[in-house]
């Protein structure tokens, strides 16, 4: 290259730096996006590989339904592929966090394999310490140093109160999925690591194996997978031995244990029996003693009572006598009274006699006195009369004497009588005194007796009390003894029951099943690998869009540049420069722009894009230390492609000019000639257009290239944004489609294996007997592989017991939206698996069950499905193909109830002893909903890149448009067009093109969405377009927004057009 040319080229760059920058920007976008997105998937792979290598993650895992032993460990260690082998424990338990919060925890042991990553604190060293995950801390509010209590029904954990000493990340769980559990609602909520010593288990639950040299390969790479499959094939040889040994040892252990238990039971029965009998004898003896004491007491009572009776008799005799005496006394008193009365009468009569005597005396004395007086005074009286008187005196005197004598006698009689009365009275008094005396004696005796009685009664009562208390304690003892006996018998029965159970169990011991798993079987890992695949797929499509646009933009830009320099090119050609030499300037210009842009793009996008994509994924995965590598391969490819596109476009533009001869070139290029457009031939429309519209229509058809480019730019922008929204909606709609339209059930309940038909029936009745459950359909759930056209896909088989019932929990709709009935003529498979296997209705497929048995079946129908693969068939078909049909699960459809009620219901169902697990459809929904969060960012990335694209394209076109029409625009400015009129003059066409572009972009978005859905579709999901009006409106509005921004810029560019400069003569 000549020096002058080089100088010219560099000057050119300085002068037209805007154009240079825009080409650079396009190259940057193209190369950056290509290299950045393409580099992301290797970066992601490298990151997960580093993470796994650093933490010594297993390559192969052994799990047996009956556990694994040290013997198994030794056996595996011998294998040539095995580098390291570790047997370890894990256990699902329930943690008691709060009253109503009992999350299901997977307890694991800290090992040298699958090392945990310490986030905070110190790893547990003692058996009462543990390490938890961050989300546990977040959800429960616990902190390092707090204690948590766990509950393990099987007592496989020694300390059930654990102190949190650390927060860790487990490489085993990179996604949020913690796996299923047969506890709680059927899902593990958190993992917790403990020191191995806190496990109390006989056998290992897992054996982890590191395969020799596996770390040398990137995990998930073909080399790695090949090596691991070889190792797995080789390890498979131990399956038989491990299973048989474990089965035999379990059986013999169980038998030994039963025998031991029986022996113990018998001993126990004897020992305790004798003890109980002895106790009974003692009680019986005591009973006899008490009986004797009772008799003695009775005797004592009897003698005491008889003594008292005698006393009482005596007393009552005494009383009787007293009474008799009293009666007699009364009688005597009466008699005495009578006597006294008669005596008093006698006395009275005597007294009246005495009175009469007294009266005779008085008469006699008077006569005596009269005679004595007359005698003394004898006067007149004759002696005869005297003598007579004397004689009469003597007579009277004698009479008086008699009378006196009589009176004395009478008084004597009275005295005697009175004496008698007194005597009588005295007698009576004496008699009553005697009675009183007797009474006193008697009363004294009575008091004495009652005293004695009281004493005696007290004595007796005490004795009775003693006896009864002895008796009651004896009864108590008896009761206790009886109870002990009952308990003893119960215990014996229980023990017997246990032995019977153990015997039953012994018979039930199923042959163990050994699973040899690899990393691919870890749900987090397999999800991650699928996501990496999606990123890789997007990386294949996305940058193409940018490359195409970059090429077109560069083509327009460079063509314009070459056109602007026609005269110079002509001059140079005239001076004798070769085409190559002349082109060199433009090629150099374009190349420099591309290389600079490309390298800047690489530097930015190698760092930024993987980082952004990783950021999105890191919300779903816990994987630290993202590895960003400067991936030269992709950078180089991107750059080369960009150079081919952009420089190619430049060369094309140069050659187009260079074929003309110098003279033509030196003349200004004739402006594009005006032409009538087709529309003008339709006067009906044309006449009704106003002037500027007509101009606009003409202009649009005049600059066809720009017309196309604008449309493509807007189209690209709209498509990308619309695609973003559609993709989000389409992915989001899967949940609704699968769990709203296809599956009507809310829970899948799996029943324990080895239940009898009766038990299954009763279990299903028990489960369905709940107010919240609408229906429960008994099904057989199993998995199998389908082989067809050299492809293999895993499916889940659902076979209803009652065919009619299945239609109420699963909707069978074929691809043409017709209802499908399952018939005996074959099997019904879901659409995605059908398309993966490339089978149609009527094709034959091979079904391989879990025991590797292969049968052939016809595809009876294909039904719509969105998540996972299923195969349905009738019970008859199943029996025909596989033999025995057993119900092992139920599909439960609840009424419309709240989520917490559903959780309760799940727990309730889980409590049924015959249920082995319950999985809640809602939790599956949540997992998928988590992906939606991601899609939000995808939409943002798309909007930003679409915006960038729109800016670059529209800005470029606007610039080219203005520069190409600068004279025309200057002219109309001179004519006196106001700024906004000038703007309208130009932008009207842009607006129309924008509208066309947007409309085409809508279609483009739909197509892009279909395309991306097909490319990125995860194996087990089927996406379907979801067209929501808002997506179209919003993407159109965003595009319009971008155009408006560009138009504002255009407005100011137009305003700045210098009329004078532009109108100067054509150079």
């Amino acid at each position: 290259m000549k020096k002058a040319l080089l100088k010219d080229s560099i000057k050119e760059i300085r002068n037209t730096y805007k154009r240079f920058l825009s080409i650079m920007l396009m190259a940057m976008l193209g190369v950056g996006f290509f290299a950045g997105i393409r580099a992301t998937s290797p970066d992601m792979n490298k990151t997960i590989d580093n993470y796994y290598d650093e933490n010594n993650l297993y390559d192969v895992e052994f799990i047996s339904t009956l556990g694994l032993t040290d013997d198994d460990l030794e056996l595996i260690r011998e294998n040539e592929y095995v580098d390291e082998v570790v047997g370890t424990y894990s256990k699902d338990v329930v943690a008691k966090v709060k009253e109503n919060e009992e999350p299901v925890i997977k307890l694991m042991a800290i090992e040298n394999i699958n090392q945990v990553v310490l986030v905070a604190g110190e790893l547990p060293k003692n058996s009462n310490e543990c390490a938890v995950e961050q989300s546990f801390i977040n959800a429960t509010g616990k902190a390092i140093g707090d204690n948590i209590t766990i509950e393990d029904k099987d007592n496989n954990v020694l300390n059930d109160t654990l102190k949190i000493t650390a927060i860790v990340n487990s490489p085993m769980y990179i996604s949020r999925d913690r796996g299923t559990s047969n506890l709680g609602a059927g899902k593990v909520n958190y993992y917790i690591y403990m020191d191995k010593s806190n496990f109390d288990m006989d056998v290992y639950t897992q054996i982890y194996i590191k395969v020799k040299d596996a770390d040398k390969y990137i995990t998930g790479s073909n080399d790695y997978i090949e090596l691991i499959h070889k190792a797995k094939d080789s390890l498979k040889q131990y399956e038989e031995e491990i299973n048989t040994r474990r089965y035999d040892s379990l059986r013999s252990d169980a038998t030994d244990e039963i025998e031991k238990a029986e022996l113990e039971l018998n001993n126990n029965r004897q020992d305790n029996g004798v003890k109980l009998d002895n106790a009974q004898t003692e009680i019986d003896n005591n009973k006899v003693k008490i009986e004797n004491a009772k008799i003695e007491l009775e005797n004592m009572k009897a003698s005491t009572y008889s003594t008292f009776a005698e006393y009482e008799n005596q007393l009552s005799d005494g009383k009787f006598q007293i009474e008799q005496a009293e009666i007699k006394l009364e009688q005597a008193k009466i008699d005495a009274d009578t006597n006294i009365k008669s005596l008093n009468v006698a006395i009275e009569s005597i007294r009246s006699n005495i009175e009469m005597v007294d009266a005779g005396l008085a008469v006699a004395n008077q006569k005596h006195d009269e005679i004595f007086y007359t005698l003394e005074n004898p006067g007149d009286l004759s002696q005869s009369d005297i003598e007579y008187l004397l004689g009469l005196k003597i007579e009277i005197e004698s009479e008086i004497e008699n009378l006196e004598k009589n009176k004395i006698e009478l008084n004597e009689k009275i005295y005697n009588l009175e004496q008698t009365i007194n005597q009588i009275n005295e007698n009576i008094i004496n008699a009553s005194n005697a009675i009183i005396d007797q009474k006193i004696v008697l009363t004294q005796k009575e008091v004495e007796l009652s005293q004695q009685k009281t004493n005696a009664y007290n004595l007796i009562a005490n004795a009775e009390d003693e006896i009864s208390s002895n008796e009651s304690s004896l009864n108590q003892a008896q009761e206790e003894l009886d109870q002990n006996r009952v308990e003893f018998e119960e215990k014996i029965k229980e023990a017997e029951g246990k032995i019977i159970d153990a015997k039953d169990k012994l018979n039930d011991i199923e042959a163990p099943k050994l699973y040899i798993l690899e990393r691919e079987d870890n749900s987090g890992y397999s999800g991650f690998i699928q996501d990496v695949q999606s990123v890789e797929n997007i990386g294949k499509v996305f940058p193409v869009v940018f490359f195409v646009i970059a090429t077109l933009i560069s083509l327009t830009s460079m063509t314009r540049m070459v056109e602007e320099q026609r005269q110079q090119i002509g001059t140079m050609k005239a001076l004798g420069y070769t085409k190559t030499q002349i082109s060199m300037k433009y090629v150099l210009y374009a190349s420099l722009a591309t290389i600079f842009g490309g390298i800047i793009g690489m530097i930015i996008c190698f760092y930024i894009l993987p980082k952004i994509i990783w950021m999105m994924y890191s919300m779903m995965y816990v994987i630290p230390n993202f590895v960003i590598e400067f991936n030269m391969k992709f950078g180089f490819i991107g750059l080369v492609v960009a150079i081919i596109c952009i420089v190619g476009a430049t060369i094309y533009a140069c050659l187009k000019e260079l074929i003309e001869n110098p003279a033509t070139l030196m003349r200004p290029k004739a402006p594009k000639i005006g032409k009538r457009v087709l529309l003008e031939k339709i006067p009906f429309i044309w006449k009704h257009l106003n002037f500027t519209s007509k101009v606009t229509v003409r202009n649009m058809f005049r600059y066809k290239k720009r017309f196309l480019m604008t449309i493509i730019g807007i189209f690209g922008c709209t498509s990308l944004i619309l695609f973003g929204f559609l993709l989000k909606d389409s992915v989001a709609s899967i949940v609704e489609r699968q769990y709203g339209k296809i599956f009507n059930y809310n829970f899948i309940v799996t029943l324990k294996s080895s239940l009898s038909h009766e038990e299954i029936d009763s279990a299903s009745r028990e489960i369905v007997n709940n107010d919240n459950i609408k229906e429960g359909v008994k099904v057989s759930l199993s998995s199998a592989s389908i082989l067809a056209n050299d492809n293999v896909e895993d499916v889940q088989i659902i076979v209803p017991e009652e065919l009619d019932q299945i239609y109420s929990v699963i909707n069978f709709i074929d691809t043409k939206n017709n209802d499908v009935k399952i018939q005996n003529s074959g099997v019904v498979i879901t659409d995605k698996v059908a398309s993966l296997l490339k089978v149609k209705i009527g094709d034959k497929i091979i079904i391989r069950d879990t025991s590797d048995k292969e049968v052939e079946a016809t595809v009876q129908n294909i039904v719509k499905n969105y998540v996972s693969h299923y195969m349905y068939m009738t019970k008859d078909t199943y029996e025909m193909l596989f033999g025995d049909y057993n119900v092992n699960g139920m599909l439960i459809n609840t009424y419309d109830i709240e989520d917490n009620l559903k959780d309760d219901l799940a727990r309730e169902i889980m409590n049924n002893s015959k249920v082995s697990s319950v999985s809640n459809i809602d939790s599956m929904k949540e997992t998928i909903d988590d992906m939606m969060g991601l899609m939000k960012y995808v939409v943002w990335v798309l909007i930003v890149s679409a915006g960038l694209l729109a800016f670059v394209v529209l800005y470029n076109l606007a610039t080219v448009n203005i520069s190409e029409r600068i004279r025309e625009l200057a002219t109309i400015k001179v004519l006196g067009f106001y700024d906004d009129e000038v703007y309208k003059y130009v932008s009207k066409e842009t607006s129309i093109l924008t509208v066309i572009g947007i409309m085409l972009g809508m279609i483009g978005g739909i197509i892009l969405n279909i395309f991306i859905l097909k490319t990125c579709e995860i194996n087990i999901l089927r996406f379907e377009q979801e067209l929501e009006p808002y997506a179209f409106i919003v993407s159109a509005l965003i595009t319009i927004g971008f155009t408006i921004i560009i138009n504002i810029a255009t407005y100011f560019t137009l305003k700045k057009i210098n009329m004078i400069e532009s109108l100067k003569s054509v150079e």
Partner: protein, 233 residues
């Protein structure tokens, strides 16, 4: 007071650190209805004067009055309005919009003016009645310049400014164009200013302004106006 007054106008351009005086205290006057020819060598400042007169450029200092309006004081939209209503411009390279037919090019101007003339009449006046629906590329240079003149006068401007209107045309065609301008000035009493470096055509003007080194060195009224047909050069 004259119809157009150009008073002590200075126009300075900055070229990096250098300052160039395109117009250096230039003054002249033009009466209404006059046909003025401005002559001078390249770089004498005649185009600058025309641009300032046409409201496409602003003066650094000085005063320009058109029909009593001080256009040196107009800013932004006022200046555009001035161009729109008062000025008709004819360019050396016609500056027709290629995408519009002849009549449409005229309409481009008339549609923004209030008291514009009927485009067909104007086309008739410039003698292109039959070519109205032709695109510029289908017209000869003279015809294109006629369209350009039609576009300028259709606005019914106060002032018709022509910057080397014959510069790109051959002798005869040029003559026809100048005749058209002269006729327009006469018939419509239009004030026309023509810039040219061709001294030969000055006799057709009512007034001749001679430019040199950014100054109007001579403003001369031509009492003996000769019709363009009679001028030979």
């Amino acid at each position: 007071m004259a119809y157009i007054e150009f008073k002590d106008v200075v126009k300075k351009y900055k070229m990096g650190e250098m300052e160039i005086n395109a117009l250096n205290n230039t003054s002249f006057e033009i009466e209404k209805g006059e046909l003025v020819v401005i002559v001078g060598a390249s770089g004498a400042g005649k185009t600058t004067a025309l641009n300032i007169l046409g409201g496409m450029d602003s003066a650094t200092s000085g005063k320009v009055l058109v029909a009593g309006k001080e256009i040196t004081k107009l800013r932004g939209k006022e200046l555009i309005k001035y161009r729109r209503d008062d000025i008709g411009f004819v360019f050396q390279f016609y500056n027709l919009v290629q995408n519009l037919t002849a009549i449409e090019n005229v309409e481009l101007a008339t549609q923004i003016c209030d008291d514009s003339l009927e485009p067909y009449d104007v086309m008739n006046k410039v003698g292109l009645k039959d070519r109205v629906n032709n695109f510029p590329s289908q017209l000869s240079g003279g015809e294109q310049q006629r369209v350009a003149i039609a576009r300028a006068i259709a606005k019914n401007p106060k002032l018709l400014l022509c910057d080397e209107p014959t510069g790109a045309l051959d002798y005869n065609t040029g003559k026809q164009i100048l005749k058209l301008l002269q006729d327009t000035s006469r018939k419509e009493n239009m004030t026309v200013v023509i810039i040219t470096h061709n001294q030969a055509i000055t006799p057709m003007a009512d007034k001749i302004i001679q430019f040199k080194n950014g100054k109007a060195i001579e403003v001369r009224k031509n009492d003996n106006v000769i019709p363009i047909e009679e001028i030979e050069w």
